[in-house]
Symmetry: none
Subunit: 411 residues, 2 copies
Amino acid sequence: MRAEIISCGTELLLGHITDTNATYLAQSLAGLGVDLFHVSQVGDNQERVVGTLSRAFERSDLIIMTGGLGPTEDDVTRESISALLGEEMRVDPVLEAELRARFKGREMPERNLKQATLIPSAQALPNPRGSAPGWFVHKDNTYLVAMPGVPHEMFRMWEEEAIPLLAAHLGGTIFTRLLRVSGLGESTVEERLQDLIHATNPTVATYAKQDAVDVRISAKATTAEEAERLISEVELKARGILGDHIFGIDKDTLASVTGSLLQARQQTLSVMESLTGGQLASTITDFKTSSSHFIGGVVSYSTDLKVQFGVPRETIERYGVVSEETAIAMAKAVCAQLGTNFGIGITGVAGPEELDGKPVGTMYIAVAGPNGVVTGMGPGWRASRSDNKRIAVNTALNLLRLYLEGRVRPK
Amino acid sequence: MRAEIISCGTELLLGHITDTNATYLAQSLAGLGVDLFHVSQVGDNQERVVGTLSRAFERSDLIIMTGGLGPTEDDVTRESISALLGEEMRVDPVLEAELRARFKGREMPERNLKQATLIPSAQALPNPRGSAPGWFVHKDNTYLVAMPGVPHEMFRMWEEEAIPLLAAHLGGTIFTRLLRVSGLGESTVEERLQDLIHATNPTVATYAKQDAVDVRISAKATTAEEAERLISEVELKARGILGDHIFGIDKDTLASVTGSLLQARQQTLSVMESLTGGQLASTITDFKTSSSHFIGGVVSYSTDLKVQFGVPRETIERYGVVSEETAIAMAKAVCAQLGTNFGIGITGVAGPEELDGKPVGTMYIAVAGPNGVVTGMGPGWRASRSDNKRIAVNTALNLLRLYLEGRVRPK
């Protein structure tokens, strides 16, 4: 099967954004064993989209489009497909009802109605994360998947709607399992899994995500049982190699894994963070039931505030605000002040300027709990402000996870 | 002048790397006033590179290729150009001498010699940062620039070699300005700017971003002054239509705009948030100098914690934890506890479950400051948990901005 990606959006051609959607889809196709031969970016211009699409229909079996499904005039993906295939776009009553439900209480601009249209060859791909459903088109032995350009809407639609539909049409089934890895870089993971990565069924591929490295195992088979058996064999090998670094599968996040562990034990968590400025608490509360174990947090962006919330001033004066000792004091203080079983403290230098004589990227993390304290540091390299925040959050939650799983010894 | 970018490399089609070279070139072309209509990525396969290149010669005046200039067999850019144009590649003695000089003391693999070749229509673009010179081809009114894929080699070659060569053929310049809009949806912005959007120079287009809606105004002119004049006229009209909803231009964010206003007045800010779970503080601290005005925050995920941090229990009991009154009490309490000039309180229902009898998506926001309190609500529709958090953060920072700019009346 020859695949082709077409990314629509004038902002791509002005260099305002980079086409990371294509990278994501390319990785996914490689994992599925589908050959990707062409990727192109085209502006919001119907003539040029139709031209690109027409060429794609000549040379590819699977065309994946992203972008151009918004409600405005310069969103021309549906119109282009409809024009090329000579099929009329009609409002689908079910899609219209769903769309209007999103606007309850507000008036829906009539132009939005085009987001509820279909052509005879298309079926809708649900999009619970946004207002634009995708299109799944099957015509003349060619499959076309059109999805929104907003990455988190597209990721879900591709994985949960498009792949299963494609698998069903292609007469087989593709099963995929993600192993989620923390504490190792992508190239290290790839190196360690070298032997598995060169296999063909299941295929194994690694992806660097914001919160983890993912190892994707994809198996093709005619039955679910067969696919499951193929995947399980490889998963066992990967687990033997990566050990404690695997913190979960599929949709698990460090926040969901640690949250579930705490909830199962009826224990609670609080945090005191400076470097990460609220991002640790925000990540913890992305887990939907977090209010049962997460009591709250303090973003102590000033030294006085750390002291006000129970960090001994002498600790800060003696060891510095960016130090392991201060991180430990923060974790213990927030536990005590908020009356929780576990507390996390993070201090460090997000950048762009050094702080307290410490270079950008320095980070100290402490987790205080019923059995004592464990500490960790970042990777020790200089990254951007936003990367430093993200790395510190991941490191802290992974440390909490290792503590909860009994894989580190508190002191 | 119609430009097209072709990026060569199988690693792009496997998703191992993202085509940031295309983004860089797209930005540069926009700045030069060159219309970029097509970008494509193609693997290291001569037949497919020739196919893509042939199409580019039909439709574009300027073709920019990156990648495929290495010494190995799978580097096929020179071979593809040569095949398409029917011109033979010959070793150029000057290039050969330069190449051999790079290998001083070591034997040069003979396959590297292809990096010293030219065709009659090509001249070499020097590459002091690597072993592969570029090609500048002019044939049949089409210009073709072929450069290495290694970014830092390509950046220099483009800026210092290719642009000066092309400059004689470029007749003008283009300027772009972004107006950043808060408090209106993309389709509403587009509807209000309808008349401007149908103009051709400057062009006006809207983009939905995570933190705002962007209105991009782009003007082409022969001089910078003329472009600036064209943009200013349209900007004035857009500002007349969108008024207070425009909070900044270009790289401004709500966090940078509010942060700069507070810093200019030497005033400080703190926050108490439950719905947003730390994301408000995290967004504020994304602004790199935020430590000069942001003292800290409290993520009060439990009612007890709100009370512990100064929210009167009777307010919560009387009005509910999700209420305007509680948001106001949170804003006032954090101001008092942390000793800041301004305080923001956010309470609401992120989802997925309703809370305290209030539906998902309910949000109450209060900003307390020296002149009193202003309050706001979300858009009042049900969104995903992560969208509710994001919407609440944007609404809160926009409310603070309106307060600081004197555009809302506190009470």
